[in-house]
C-alpha cells in the first residue's frame, strides 16, 4: 500500500540502530603520568614529547602484522603485567618509531591505593611485576625517546578498551581513519625547561647542655637524610622506601631527642643537628652544597654524622657503610655501639667499607658521560655512592645506615615507580629508629656497654607508631622530585614546621641544582579515549540517508501529484527535444 516504501526503509533503519546501539560508548578520561624528560650534561634523555593524538594499538597487532608494521601513528598500550622485556629492549634500543607508548600499571603501584593484604601468591605476583617494572624503568630513564611515553593505571574502562583494541588487532587491520577503533588524545602543552631548579636543605639545631663558658666547644652529632626522589614518572615518584623511610626515621628521632633535651637535667653534652637534604639522586648535591656553605668551625665540631637511606623494607639485616677503614678506633666504637643495640633488638648489622676515590668514576657507564662532560667543558665531578662520602671527602667521620648492601647505581633506587606504600613495612622503620636512637643516646650519655633501655616501650620515650604511620602516609602520597619543588611547596613547609617543633633553630638553605641537570615540566595529564567511527561508516550512512530521502520524495510526489508527474520529472529533457523536433 502507500505506506509500505517509507515504512519498510524506516524499519530497516530502526533494526540497524537497535542492533548496533550497544556499540556506543561515552568518552573515557584517564589520569596519566608522563615519563621524565631531562638533559644530563646536554644529552637529551627520557621522553621528548608530551602531546598525544593517535590511534590505539596493542601488542597483538605486532605479532599479527609482523616486523613490517608501521607504528609511527599508533599508540601502543602495554600492560606491565604481560610485558615482554626483550620486545621493549629491542624497540627502545633500536629506536624504532612509534606514535606513543602507554604503559599500564597494576593498581597496587598507585600512591592512592592501599593494599588490603592478600595471600602469598599475590605477593609473589607483585614481586614479579616489581622486577619487570624496575627493569623497564631503568631502560626508559637512560634512553632518548622521541615520542610521548605515559604511565597509567589499569581500571575497568581501560580494560574494556584494551580488550576491544586487541579484538581488532587480531584480524591484523591497523586502526586508522578508515577502520574506526579508538583514538587516544592527551592535550599537553609543549614541555618547557624548569627555570631554576632549586635544592632546598632544611636543618634543625638542637643545642646540648653547655657547661659554664665553653658553649662553642660542644661536639655535634649530625643525623642526615635526603628527602627528594627521582623516578621514571616524576608525578608518581613518592619514594616510600628511598628515602621516605629515612625522613620519617629522622623526624621520629628528632621528636624523641627533643623530649630528652627539653629538660636541662636530661640534656646531653652533644649538640644535635638534623638535616633533611635535597638533591639525593643527583650525587647528593644538596649535602655537598650544605657542607660547603657550613661554617668551618662548626664543621670541625662534628663528631660524626649518620646518614639514613632506605630502612623501610622488612628484612632483619641492616648495613653500616663507612669510608674510613674498619680498623679505625672511632669506627670500631660506633659499630660496636650499633651491634650491641641491634642484638638486643634481634637485628643484624654488618659493616661495609668502601674507599672513596676522587680520581676514577665509580660506574663504567659514566665514563662516556665524563668524556662528554670534558668535551662540553663541564668540570667532571666526583661521583659518590653514599651520602656519607660527601662528609668523608671533607674529613668528617660519617656512616650510612641502609638495608641495601651494595651501593645503588646512578639514578637507581631513588624512589621509582615500584617504590610505594605497599612495599614498605612500618615495623622495620620503628626498629631502625630504635636502633639509631638507642645507639646515639648511649653514646651521648656515656652508657655504652650498659644494658639500659632508654627508649623503652610503654615509656614516655617510646617510639610512636602512629606518628611514623602518619608521616609514611603523607610522604607516600607526595611526589618529591626536587626541581619541581619550590620553597613554598606544602611539603617543604610541612617538613620545616615539623623540625621547628622538635628543634630550637631551623634554617632553610636554597641553592640551585648543578648545571649538569636540566628538567622539563608537563609531568602529568589527562588522556581522553574516544571511540571513533570510520569513514566507511559515514559513507554508508550517507548512502542510506540519500536513498531514504529519494524514496520519501518519490512517495510524496506520487501521493500528491500522481505517478505521471514523477515520471515527467525525469523525462523532461527528452520531451523538450520531442517538442522542438
Amino acid at each position: 500500500m502507500f505506506v509500505e516504501p517509507v515504512y519498510s526503509s524506516l524499519i530497516t533503519l530502526l533494526i540497524i540502530v537497535v542492533a548496533c546501539a550497544e556499540l556506543c560508548d561515552a568518552v573515557t578520561v584517564v589520569d596519566v603520568y608522563r615519563l621524565v624528560q631531562y638533559d644530563l650534561g646536554g644529552v637529551p634523555l627520557g621522553s621528548r614529547l608530551a602531546a598525544l593524538n593517535h590511534h590505539a594499538g596493542s601488542s597483538l597487532y605486532l605479532s599479527s602484522a609482523g616486523a613490517a608494521a608501521d607504528l609511527s601513528r599508533t599508540v601502543l598500550i602495554l600492560p606491565v603485567r604481560e610485558l615482554n622485556l626483550t620486545f621493549i629492549r629491542d624497540y627502545i634500543g633500536q629506536r624504532k618509531p612509534l606514535g606513543g607508548l602507554l604503559l599500564l600499571l597494576p593498581p597496587v603501584f598507585s600512591p592512592q591505593h592501599s593494599d588490603s593484604g592478600g595471600g602469598a601468591d599475590q605477593d609473589s605476583a607483585k614481586d614479579l611485576v616489581k622486577e619487570v617494572l624496575i627493569e623497564v624503568e631503568r631502560l626508559l630513564i637512560h634512553a632518548n625517546i622521541p615520542y610521548p611515553v605515559y604511565f597509567g593505571f589499569e581500571d575497568e574502562a581501560v580494560h574494556a578498551m584494551l580488550g576491544d583494541v586487541k579484538k581488532n588487532d587480531i584480524t591484523g587491520q591497523p586502526a586508522t581513519a578508515t577502520t574506526g577503533g579508538y583514538k587516544l588524545v592527551a592535550a599537553a602543552p609543549e614541555p618547557r625547561k624548569v627555570a631554576s631548579p632549586a635544592i632546598i636543605n632544611i636543618q634543625g639545631w638542637l643545642p646540648g647542655l653547655k657547661a659554664d663558658g665553653d658553649s662553642n666547644k660542644l661536639p655535634t652529632i649530625a643525623i642526615v637524610a635526603s628527602y627528594d626522589t627521582f623516578g621514571a614518572a616524576p608525578a608518581l615518584s613518592v619514594g616510600s622506601d628511598s628515602n621516605g623511610s629515612g625522613v620519617v626515621a629522622l623526624l621520629e628521632i628528632a621528636r624523641l631527642f627533643s623530649i630528652l633535651y627539653s629538660n636541662p637535667k636530661t640534656r646531653g653534652r652533644y649538640n644535635l643537628l638534623f638535616v633533611l637534604t635535597s638533591g639525593g639522586p643527583y650525587n647528593y648535591n644538596g649535602t655537598h652544597k650544605w657542607l660547603r656553605s657550613m661554617d668551618q668551625r662548626l664543621r670541625e665540631t662534628i663528631d660524626y654524622a649518620i646518614c639514613l637511606n632506605s630502612i623501610g623494607s622488612s628484612s632483619n639485616e641492616l648495613w653500616l657503610h663507612v669510608s674510613k677503614p674498619p680498623e679505625n678506633a672511632y669506627i670500631k666504637q660506633i659499630f660496636e655501639g650499633f651491634s650491641t643495640v641491634s642484638e638486643e633488638l634481634g637485628l643484624k648489622v654488618g659493616l661495609k667499607h668502601k674507599k672513596i676515590n676522587i680520581s676514577n668514576p665509580r660506574e663504567s657507564q659514566m665514563l662516556s658521560f665524563i668524556c662528554l662532560a670534558l668535551r662540553t667543558g663541564y668540570v667532571p665531578i666526583c661521583m659518590v655512592a653514599w651520602e656519607h662520602e660527601q662528609f668523608s671527602r671533607l674529613r668528617v667521620t660519617a656512616a650510612t645506615l641502609s638495608e641495601l648492601s651494595v651501593a645503588p647505581d646512578f639514578l637507581e633506587s631513588t624512589g621509582g615507580l615500584s617504590d610505594n606504600r605497599n612495599f614498605i613495612n612500618e615495623a622495620s622503620i620503628s626498629r631502625s629508629v630504635k636502633l639509631v636512637a638507642e645507639s646515639l643516646a648511649r653514646h651521648i650519655y656515656g652508657q655504652q656497654g650498659k644494658s639500659i633501655d632508654i627508649f623503652a616501650d610503654h615509656s614516655s620515650l617510646s617510639i610512636n607508631p602512629s606518628y611514623i604511620r602518619s608521616w609514611v602516609e603523607f610522604l607516600s602520597t607526595t611526589p618529591r622530585v626536587a626541581p619541581f619543588l619550590s620553597k613554598n611547596d606544602p611539603l617543604i613547609v610541612a617538613l620545616k614546621k615539623e623540625l621547628a617543633d622538635h628543634t630550637v633553630e631551623v634554617n632553610v638553605q636554597q641553592e640551585l641544582l648543578d648545571g649538569m641537570f636540566t628538567f622539563y615540566d608537563s609531568t602529568s595529564g589527562r588522556l581522553h579515549i574516544y571511540q571513533v567511527a570510520s569513514v566507511t561508516f559515514d559513507l554508508i550512512l550517507l548512502l542510506v540517508l540519500a536513498s531514504y530521502l529519494i524514496v520519501l520524495f518519490s512517495f510524496l510526489v506520487i501521493l500528491t501529484r500522481g505517478l505521471d508527474d514523477l515520471i515527467s520529472l525525469f523525462r523532461r529533457p527528452s520531451s523538450r527535444k520531442v517538442k522542438t523536433a
Binding site: 561515552a26 567511527a533 530521502l549
Partner: protein, 225 residues
C-alpha cells in the same frame, strides 16, 4: 570526518522537511514559517516559565505536579496550532494545503530550535555516539506527528460539516497526538526506557496516528465532494 557525521545527522533531521516542501506544492510555506517560529518561541518560553514557577511545589508533590506541568504542554501546542491555522488568511489556499503548510512549518521550526544547537555542538566532536542519528529519527517522527495534528486541528476548527459519528474519534486522536511529547518524556523518565526504544516507539506511533488521521481526513472530505 566528524563534520561528515554532523552533515549526515543534519540531513536526517532536516532533509525530510525540505523534501516534503519540494515534493508538494506549498509555496506559501515561507510566510507561514516565520509565523511558526514566533509561535514556537513563545511556546518554548512559556514552558520554561511554567516549570520555574512550579519548582518549590515539586519538592512536595514531585511526580504528580511535574506530570501536570507536562500535560500543559498539549494545551500550548493546541493553542499554537489553533492560532496558526486560523491566522493563516493568505490568498485562497485549499484546506488540504493549509494544514500541510502549518504542520510542516511547525515541525521545521521545532526541529531547528530544539535540535540544531545540540547537533552543532555535539555531532562535530571526535567521539562517536548514536545519539544524533536517533535525534534525527525523532525529528522525522515529530514531522509526521505535527502533520497529523495539523490535519486533525484543521478538521476540528476549519471544517464545519463533519459527520457526527467521527467527531469523538477526531477529538480523541487529536488528544493523543497532542500529548505525545508528554507520553514520551514519561517513558524516558518514569519508566526509564533507553533512547533507541523511545525513538522506535515514537516512529511507530507517529505512523499509526498519521494513518488514522489520513483516514479521518478523507472520510470527512467525502460528504463535501
Amino acid at each position: 570526518m566528524t563534520m561528515f557525521h554532523f552533515l549526515n545527522c543534519a540531513i536526517l533531521t532536516f532533509g525530510p522537511h525540505a523534501v516534503y516542501y519540494s515534493a508538494t506544492p506549498l509555496s506559501i510555506i515561507l510566510t507561514s514559517f516565520l509565523q511558526q517560529i514566533r509561535l514556537v518561541c513563545l511556546a518554548t518560553f512559556l514552558k520554561v516559565s511554567e516549570s520555574d514557577s512550579f519548582d518549590p511545589y515539586q519538592v512536595l508533590f514531585v511526580q504528580s505536579l511535574s506530570g501536570i506541568v507536562e500535560s500543559f504542554d498539549w494545551v500550548r501546542r493546541c493553542c499554537g496550532l489553533y492560532f496558526a491555522l486560523t491566522q493563516l488568511t493568505h490568498r485562497n489556499i485549499s484546506q488540504n494545503h493549509k494544514f500541510q503548510a502549518v504542520g510542516l512549518g511547525w515541525a521545521f521550526a521545532d526541529s531547528v530550535l530544539h535540535r540544531l544547537a545540540p547537533l552543532w555542538v555535539g555531532a562535530r566532536g571526535l567521539e562517536f555516539t548514536w545519539d544524533f542519528v536517533l535525534q534525527g529519527l525523532e525529528a522525522n517522527a515529530n514531522l509526521v506527528l505535527c502533520l497529523s495534528l495539523a490535519a486533525l486541528g484543521s478538521l476540528i476548527w476549519l471544517r464545519k460539516n463533519k459527520p457526527k459519528t467521527l467527531i469523538p474519534i477526531i477529538y480523541a486522536c487529536a488528544g493523543i497526538v497532542a500529548t505525545m511529547p508528554s507520553i514520551t518524556s514519561y517513558l524516558k523518565r518514569g519508566l526509564g526506557w533507553h533512547f533507541p526504544k523511545v525513538v522506535g516507539f515514537e516512529l511507530f506511533t507517529s505512523l499509526v496516528m498519521a494513518f488514522i488521521s489520513w483516514q479521518l481526513f478523507t472520510a470527512c472530505q467525502r460528504p463535501s465532494n
